[in-house]
Symmetry: C2
Subunit: 208 residues, 2 copies
DNA sequence: CAGGATGTAGACCGAACATTCTACCTCCCT
DNA sequence: AGGGAGGTAGAATGTTCGGTCTACATCCTG
């Protein structure tokens, strides 16, 4: 029942478990779904779950790690799609709006998880923070062409708009949200390359 | 133990219950806190809780209704603070950043609730949608001076930025989030009054 | 004074929760 | 041939959940 690859073994039941957990946790939240539900839908027994994951928390952490990997893949693909940094930012933005407009979109898995785990010391909360820091750094890096101070502000601005779009994407018309987001991103890109067009607000912001 | 006012009676235990629920639900989430916890901290018995609220769900609804009222009050105060629509928008933005930088800030009570109640048919989810619709309409109204199409886009843009700021405000440096948000809002205000400065992106956005 | 609304105190309910356990089966690798 | 890892099946753990109930005390008002 296992598939062996060099250096590691992947259990079929484990994959089924993790995929089921991903689907249900994302769609319905974490605290509101019990172990029995996941075990039943993954067609495994409780004993099997606890053979692969130390606890429910461990399963949640694995779910978030998987989501993190998926997003890193999307961003890497966006970076590889064009040599132009501006177009790379646009590609990242497009991958976000694609997600928002996909069926079953339920917001950002990490923001949703943070809403359920408020304690900053909790491992799940920290997993959220780590993912977000990586994303902010990555986007800021994409923004950085010449002026570093402007890139920081532009990166934060982009992430804030993304957070808003992701949060609202499942509470309002996804198409309208996507349009609003993409126009906002265009504004950020333009303001960064021709800062005087924004009346100096963004430029002075970067220095504060 | 009750205070009578014309037309209605306010129970002390009920207020204590609702305030306690508000504090704990906001700080720690909804599914993760039980009735016993609220009952204990409010210094009432379970029987008293169920005398005033039909169920836990009812208590959550009352919590959100109270939060809704508080925010409406803030927005009304912002509207009354100046005759200039631009400054009214700035005042709303300031009330938001004040919240973000206040101790115990834990994000938007409504976004957090939506993360825990994903089913659109659920009364709690619908309470979130209703509040958000009111807020979007109100902000759009503030944006509307002459051009209606631009106001719609500006209102959506403002709310998206707010959502991002509220979501990230408890996951990142609140001061930096507040600055980023306020600069973004200035950009929206300026883009609305002098749309050609944004290269037409915002203007064309409004028409789509 | 009677009665209804409000409250306390605490027992009680069935269900769901996460987690552990024993017992047995079936592969694959050595 | 033997052993360990991965799996099933299902019982059992003790805790917590939301919610109900009885019994009794208080207080305001009609």
């Amino acid at each position: 029942m296992s598939r062996s690859t060099e250096g590691g073994t992947v259990s079929e039941a484990r994959t089924r478990l993790l995929n089921t957990a991903t689907r249900i946790f994302y769609a319905e939240g974490i605290h509101s779904v019990g172990i029995d539900r996941i075990v039943a839908e993954a067609k495994v027994t409780r004993a099997t779950l606890y053979r692969h994951f130390a606890s429910k928390e461990d399963l949640v952490l694995a779910y978030l790690a998987q989501a993190d990997q998926a997003i890193r893949g999307q961003v890497a693909a966006a970076q590889a799609s064009s040599p132009s940094p501006d177009d790379q930012v646009r590609a990242v933005a497009k991958s976000i709006t694609d997600g928002i407009q996909s069926t079953g979109f339920r917001g950002c898995a990490f923001l949703n998880a943070a809403a359920e785990y408020s304690d900053p010391a909790h491992p799940i909360h920290q997993a959220v923070l780590a993912h977000r820091q990586w994303f902010l750094d990555t986007v800021t890096g994409l923004m950085a062409q010449t002026d570093d101070g402007v890139a920081d502000a532009a990166g934060r601005h982009f992430v804030m708009l993304r957070d808003g779009a992701m949060a609202a994407g499942c509470l309002f018309d996804p198409k309208l949200i996507s349009d609003t987001f993409l126009h906002g991103v265009e504004g950020i890109i333009k303001a960064r390359t021709i800062p005087e067009l924004t009346g100096g607000a963004t430029a002075s912001a970067a220095k504060s």
